[in-house]
Amino acid sequence: MPSSLLFGINNEGRVHTLSTTGTMWREIPYAGQEFKKLSAVPYFLWALGGDHQIYVYVHGLDIPIRVREEAYENERWLPIEGFSSRLLPTDRYRFSNVDGTVDRSIDKIRLPSMAWQWEGDWQLELTLDGQPLDHQGWTYAVDFPAQYYSKKQWKSCVRRRLWVRSRRYSAMNSWCAIAPLHKDATSEPFIDISIGGQSVAGAEPGTMLVWAVTSHNRVMFRTGVSTKSPEGARWNPIPTPIGSEINQISVGPTGLVWAALLDGRALVRVGVTRDSLSGESWVEVRGPGDNLKIGQLSVGTCAVWAVTQNKQVWFRKGVKGEGAGLSEELAAGCGWVEMVGRMAQISVAANDQVWAVGADDRLVYYRSGVGASDLTGKRWKALHAPLQVSRASSNASLNRDKFHRSFNALQSRPSSMCEPSTIAEWEEQSHSAPTAPTSLPVGDLASKFETQPKNPKAWSPVHSVGSIVGTEVHPEVDESVWSDGSRESCIFAEDEELGWAEYEAPWSWVEAGACTVDPAQLPNWFAEVGGGNNHTEMGEPWRLRILDDLKLRLPTKDLYKEWQMAVDTTSWVHTGEARVSWGSGQFVDCVLQLEWVQITGTLTVLNPDGASTMNLFSLNDITCVQCCSEPGSPRLGIHVPRHSPSLLKFQFSSDAQLEEWQAHFATTCGRLQHVLGKPSEGSVWAVTTLGDAFIWDPTQLESNQLRENDYYVQKFDLSGKESPIKVALHGSFKPGTCLTLTGCIGDDADRIGINLDAHSTYRLRHKAHSEHENTCLHFNPRFVESHIVRNSMIEGKWGKEEKEGDLPLKRGQEFVLRIETTEDAFLIYIDDKLFTNYRHRLPPSSVSMLSIWGRLQPFKLVIKSPEIILDPLNLYWRQVGGHLRRVESCRVGVTWAIGYDHTAWVYTGGWGGGFLGALDSHNVHPMTDSQDYRVYENQRWNPVTGYTSAGLPTDRYMWSDATGKQKRTRDQVKLLSVKWQWVSDWMIDFHVPGGVDRDGWQYAVDFPGTYHAHKNFTDYVRRRRWYRRCAVATTGPWQELGHTKLIDVSLEPVKDDLDSIISVWALASGGQAMVRTGVTRSNPAGLGWEHVSSDQPLGSISCGPYNLVWATGKKGCAYWRIGITENKLEGERWVCVEPPNGGQLKQISVNVIGVWAVDHMGRIHVRKEVTTTFPEGTHWQTITPDPLVLNAAPNTTGFKHVSVGRNEVWAATNGGAILRRAGICPSNPAGSGWFVGIPGNWQQVSVRAFN
């Protein structure tokens, strides 16, 4: 669970934060303003100041809030003038929005408030759907509105181009004042503020709701508050029933609003839905008792808690936030329940956990035991987190006024009118304003108001940069709050001890709206009473003594080394029932027996009688054990690529059994393959479609192969095999490679052939592939003609024969044939004598097969290669815990991963987790991930009843998947395993590409078609999407990186040494690029994000070597970054590279050996003519999936992912096979052909660490 923040105000009115990963309250740097009340959602904090004005504090965001303003400039062609800005009277505005309905003159587009700054000037958008436009950026059409094209045609009567300019919220990490209701801020100050509504069902993502109460007991609703507009637009008064004087208000995460009245009753706002965010009407709720007046209340998702004026705590039962918008009953609940404890103030978090401030002791309390089944919890638990105080921040005399006044354009003058003189004046005034607090902030209002200037002037935040209020509150990095700014201004800066103090203070307010605490894993905020706090115990003297004594127990241990053990733990048998499927067949009952004897193991599949054997193989043959469950059927796939069938699937009766077997296989196979403990830094990572992560560690293969002065050696025993023989060669055949074949020629031999074949070339013609063979070297002794023919076949055509020389081979005799590869030729030795050399006609690195035919008996084949010989089919894949969508690694082993919920994870260097349990693991942490299930509801229109679920007989299922081919009903959807659970109900998805109407429907002429939001006359069908979210809880060697959600990441060390800084590029979930600072091998999580702006949202990014960064835009074009140096890893600017013809790039991977990308049609494109001086290359070369690739796994239509390492290119197909590119060399950077690995449902692979 990501860390989150609890907020509190102490008795001095200072705001403090307590991180769920921390143990101390830390003060938000004091800026001369005390606060009385707080309300928070993650990243956004609204507060009521001591001056009874409203302030907003945006914090902890790694990506700046940027809004792209767009204005389309429209022109019409006139017969004489050509294109002109004079439009017809019926036409749209000259500058308009995308559909022409709103005037968007660029000189009228202003910053919404002082908290915003422009980033650069208006610029033209020069691409259309990823394709570059001509220099003017115009797009042409027949008329408005119509399809726009990049080229002008004879019928183009109108054209338009897009002007864009970005603005940025610059008041981040500082208190930004919200403009008062009236010019005179004191005429109607505020008395309460509340923010919530971050999860209103179906609302636009980023929506937030802010409610406030004024001193005239008016209720105000702030319009337009969202993550893109943190201050919102304006206050709207919401009428309240006559005679109800509202004193306090609270809005929950689902938008449910409760308000406390002065007379002790409460009002509940009903009808808050995505269409009506401020609700429809008020419903009255009586207080808990006759003389019990509600003083303060707080709304969670399914809970409302209140504190009465006599400090009693009450829980409102029957409230259900999710349905509250539609049902009055669910909004208002059905009765008050008294709780124990006397509290002054209460706060309910979004997950219904409850915090309170004690009425008498002023401690912060947490309600323990609150869960979905028991919303009232068990007992109050006091927080014991000391306050960390920096003298600098609490020293009022050092204060400079650092407030931003943000005024809406509606209510104040534009920023340009702000003169420097008024700033000086205001600063002058404010110097005396915040005096050292001597009274509780709950003191009298009048005196507070006096100190505040009557008519504060606005100024642009530009002028106060450097004196911004507070620095980032970052829960990950404890020191960051203090590190720079506060130190400078601290008198005691030299002596850090003096600058810090710890004490526990009386609290006046606690705010949990942004805090997510899992009741099962409470943060370290509570005093330890019993045992448990492991960290402190590790160093205790008694513990060390016990450990020492235990170790010394048998001092004469060595005497008994040879003694027999009473319990033999080295051999065992595990037996169980399962169902087995061979290949793709039916599942049949069987008995599984896994036998482990000392150092080897056997898996036996027995018939259900338990006596006769169905199959039996050594555990050595297993290369991968993968979960391949389907909902309701726990299944395990065992890959045995050297057997037929190469994949067995076992189905177990329960998830627990599956995990038990999975753990047995993992430990036994791991022991056999010597992959225990930490994987090496050069490991290859891969992720399956079920989110399981696997590692192949090259160490073992390397140590098996590396022999004979730095050469990798592979030996094949061919004796007993009959020609023709084909031997796959997975070595790269780089210069220096040496192949030695020994054998005996038959007595009756006529012609024999020894070929070095390359992968065939496939041509796609009329949807059928034609195969054209390639042979690098055809070595063909002909005994009748008494010479040896050498030749090459290139794409099915033989070249010119070379037949010089005699025939040193004789019938019936043994021979030794050695072929050495050099830069320009094969040197052919027969019986250790150089016979000839054969100049390369095809790149030798494309050799992938040795084929032998004719009358000869080969004995032995030995390959010596300067590079590791890698058969992707034979790699042992080892699983580590975690549920992930992507894993990216780099040369020095720093590895990051991204979950399905876009959470970023950093590999801890541990292993195990997940099914292996906590005891067979190292350095694992709990993890969660979530996914959405989606079903489509389809309807067809008929003249009588309108749209109904009665379709035509030829139609798709009325409840289906996106393609309409599979039937999916909502109640039929099952979770994958017991580890998953539903976290939401079925809901209509209002955020479907193409747009939806009020009820979530999309319309189309027919199935399948293009769907749009508005019903047209010709639309006969409609559909809508339902989704339901589920979450998984597991463990793995991963540590959560922070809050920022990622869609892609790429890592690359800057230098070759192990301790080099690592350049990390990532894309946030909105497609914004970022670089992570401070990432090294010793600090794999790095320090913080730096945002790198781009014109377009990006979809994929890759970096390698560090100064070469490529990305793909969401619209399918490619970008590369120029200006990257060691000192400026973020570079200077993006340069657009046109995508390949007819392809939209989806994913890109770059490294020293090239730039590779996958497009939306499943093809791979390789950038050609990439040189160091011209790193952007000139054009794309397309690799389409050949039949070998298409047959590698069922349901393959193309490539899904490509990963480029320093020497290798690996890819995953959409059928789930893993591929390794063959024949990559400088003369042929795109390589030739693929070596196919196991079809393991792979969806992504990272070979970037492999060297």
């Binding site: 007992r379 009473v529 045992g531 048998l554 009473a566």
Partner: protein
């Protein structure tokens, strides 16, 4: 929670060298059998580890006695099989000089008055599970052990029997957890061995004022005013060791602390 793996592992790995010899009076063969040497886990019980011993000596005893229960004797006293081996050793052997531990094996004259009979390993299992449940009653009012499935019980037992630390602790950790409402056990399950028997008492891991109780507190409550030493797992734990921690980390597989009292 018992998460100090280093300690747990060390406790689990504790082994004792034992030299078994058949009572010379029972030997019917001409040749005296060799002694049988074995490394025995401290945490186990004799009936679980003496199959090999029995096999070794069986052919030297009279045919009619071969089906009888084997029993062990040290220093003239029959060994109580239902105590963990480590406890027996700590009680009976006071010095390392006495290693290996010489135990005499008998097939005849089962001392029914002194030790329980056992027919098979299931007897040991049911005794072990009874102890485990008793301990859980003390710690968690029995809620955890009774909510466990048969499978979990089996895993505990097989883990102990096959000397599989991970298998055992995968389940046992649940028993060593403290409930969410409490930071400590209700009572500490322990047995103080003294004078040929043991004593038990209800002792809480924390004092009235919330202070963590230590081994010293336990001694004070058990033997007020007396100066005693406590030995367990072949070592003498420091008196300031917290009881809760001891219970989590130094309990035998039956979840009891077995403390040998030395006056």
């Amino acid at each position: 929670m018992a998460n100090d793996r280093e300690i747990l592992r060390e406790v689990w790995e504790g082994k004792l060298p034992i030299s078994f010899q058949l009572d010379p009076d029972e030997v019917v063969e001409l040749q005296q059998p060799d002694q049988f040497y074995l490394m025995v886990p401290r945490l186990s019980y004799f009936p679980l580890v003496t199959d090999k011993v029995r096999k070794h000596f069986l052919r030297y005893v009279a045919n009619d006695k071969q089906d009888r229960e084997m029993w062990l004797e040290y220093d003239g006293q029959p060994i109580k099989w239902h105590y963990p081996i480590g406890v027996l050793f700590d009680l009976l052997i006071t010095s390392d000089d006495q290693l290996p531990w010489n135990i005499t094996v008998h097939f005849d004259k089962f001392p029914e008055n002194q030790i329980y009979r056992f027919n098979n390993k299931e007897t040991v299992e049911s005794y072990f599970m009874a102890c485990l449940k008793e301990a859980d009653v003390l710690k968690h009012r029995g809620q955890i052990a009774s909510n466990m499935q048969k499978k979990d019980h089996n895993q505990l037992w097989l883990g102990l029997q096959n000397d599989k630390f991970e298998q055992f602790w995968a389940v046992n950790r649940k028993l060593m957890e403290v409930s969410s409402e409490q930071e400590h056990f209700k009572y500490i399950p322990f047995r103080c061995y003294i004078d040929d028997g043991y004593r038990q008492k209800l002792i809480k891991p924390v004092a009235e004022d919330g202070r963590r109780k230590t081994l010293q507190d336990l001694i004070n409550e058990m033997f007020p005013g007396r100066n005693v030493n406590i030995k367990t797992h072949g070592m003498i734990p420091p008196l300031e060791t917290p009881l809760q921690w001891m219970s989590e980390h130094l309990s035998y597989p039956d979840n009891f602390l077995h403390l040998c009292v030395q006056m």
